[in-house]
Symmetry: C2
């Protein structure tokens, strides 16, 4: 049995809490949050702290702290703070900054004899793993990642910033015909537009100019301009009723050749009804691995690429060889 | 650059040879075979030996020996022989015997300071990995493995033993409606018959009683009796023309719940035009891992569950963090 702390109690933090409850070998022993009073209403039986700098009770044992804040503002600050005291797991997902963040966490983790698993979850995380496995098993192959159908928080937020928008929800949709071509063994460099489309549901302010809103969204650089985007205006009631969940998912495909000309296709797919709960579930499996790595004498930063599957599992290696091989 | 030996030069051995040629960091330096004269016609530039007991030249360097014989007769004998002298990789696939074989190889490998990766390939191997990952990420989930469409060597051999059968090829076909139910989140204990059917192509001896052959095949215990089996009689020419390849593949599905009642589905699929070539490609990636594990000071037996993805890859960890996360 090992002890877990949750750092940041939003959607992902709640997902981690619920995942801990499904795993008999771990226990929630602390929550860190900027709004302790609000969280205390939700969580009665676990001590709640405003930050790692506060004086923590001597009796408090935390084996792994799972960082559940945002990758932009929170994790780059909280990671270096928490790894000084505890093993950590985070889902840092700013892909381009992963090498730099890894380096930083690796140094502090090593200096403090702790283990940090960074950028865990499904992408980065499981999808990274599948991209690497595909490339290892099929050298010179081509890998494709499709996302969705699912809600993208970043794109929803971007649409929400348009003037006259009260609420927005963006669904990323993989384009079936592109998926089909990859599955059929066609090798192609797709444009962004050929791989995904975007569907946005908007609750507009009363009297707002809908055509202007639509235009501003579909022409927004980086987020929308490179895709075909549909904008639908709905009521606040409809938003609450039909778009409250956070489904997501996606596909990692690897298409390669063996021998003279034998096409081999590997495909990983996940279909998630709750993105934050599933991500939470992956993070707690990584917390188990972090706890074991530390116990085995390791320190430093790790990604899911550095962790053998057996370390993520609640079963012993002997059980896995008997039941899962 | 590390040096690889192939032990056993049948379909899988040829697949391994072709995979080595696609990986710039490894080189074939020896072949062990019971029929050296025949193999010498195929391979001119690599020394060929009848067995590991023969006196090997002092200059011969072998970092990893890949065992490509059969799991029933060859690997249980060759594994313990080769692991005394070299690191090894094998595709031992008698699932029920894996724990015992692991134990044996682990002891000899440790005694000799070598690394043995056992039961590598796609099943056991990648599929084992995906079963364990699915269970780790979704505790209390249910896993399903479907095989095919593809040629099963064991079932083809069994049909070939029926009196009056000159040649046989058996295709294992996953049943679409069962796959569909799992994908839709239905949890069910399928019978064997509900998950797979078997289609057999037979070249019968002249004058043989086809109805008796059909009956003997479809009623054969273990191999066919538990499945719906179709038997088709074809000519030797048709067999050669349409059934010379070894396609295979399959699906690993994990269906679980997070939170209160959110169904999460993970699916891994491979579609292989050449089973032995793809298996060979997986084995050489595992040979890379064996070589690195040994270099890092490890010894003993490993399965793919014990090997981090980064060790299988031809890229450095820094390259992987930059390009694949």
């Amino acid at each position: 049995m090992f002890n877990v702390a949750i750092v940041g109690y939003g959607n992902l933090g709640r997902g981690v809490k619920s995942a801990i409850e499904r795993n008999a070998d771990m226990k929630l022993t602390a929550v860190f949050t900027r709004r302790p009073e609000a969280v205390k209403k939700d969580i009665k039986d676990v001590p709640i702290f405003p930050g790692v700098q506060s004086s923590l009770p001597k009796s408090l044992r935390i084996d792994v702290a799972i960082l559940c804040g945002g990758s932009k503002e929170d994790t780059p600050v909280q990671g270096p703070q928490f790894i000084e005291k505890f093993n950590t797991v985070d889902s840092f997902d700013t892909h381009a900054d992963i090498p730099r963040y890894f380096k930083k966490m690796d140094a502090i983790a090593k200096a403090n004899g702790n283990v940090s698993v960074i950028s865990a979850g499904w992408d980065p995380g499981i999808f990274s793993l599948e991209r690497v496995l595909g490339d290892a098993f099929l050298p010179e192959s081509k890998g494709y990642t499709f996302w969705g159908p699912g809600v993208s928080q970043g794109h929803s937020d971007a649409a929400r910033k348009v003037k006259g928008v009260n609420d927005a929800r963006q669904y990323t949709i993989p384009i079936e015909s592109a998926l089909k071509q990859v599955r059929e063994g066609k090798i192609k460099d797709f444009t962004k537009r050929e791989m995904h489309k975007r569907v946005v549901y908007i609750v507009a302010a009363k009297g707002a100019d809908r055509e202007r809103i639509r235009k501003e969204i579909v022409e927004m650089p980086n987020y929308y301009a490179d895709y075909n985007t549909e904008v639908h205006f709905i009521t606040a009631e409809e938003m609450k009723k039909s778009h409250a969940a956070y489904p997501h998912g996606g596909f990692v495909l690897t298409s390669g050749v063996t021998g003279k000309n034998h096409r081999e296709i590997l495909e990983y797919r996940c279909e998630l009804k709750s993105n934050p709960e599933f991500t939470g579930s992956v993070l707690v499996a990584c917390a188990r691995a972090a706890y074991r790595l530390k116990k085995n004498g390791a320190s430093g930063a790790f990604t899911m690429l550095d962790i053998p599957a057996a370390l993520l599992s609640s079963h012993t290696s002997a059980e896995l060889r008997k039941g899962f091989m």
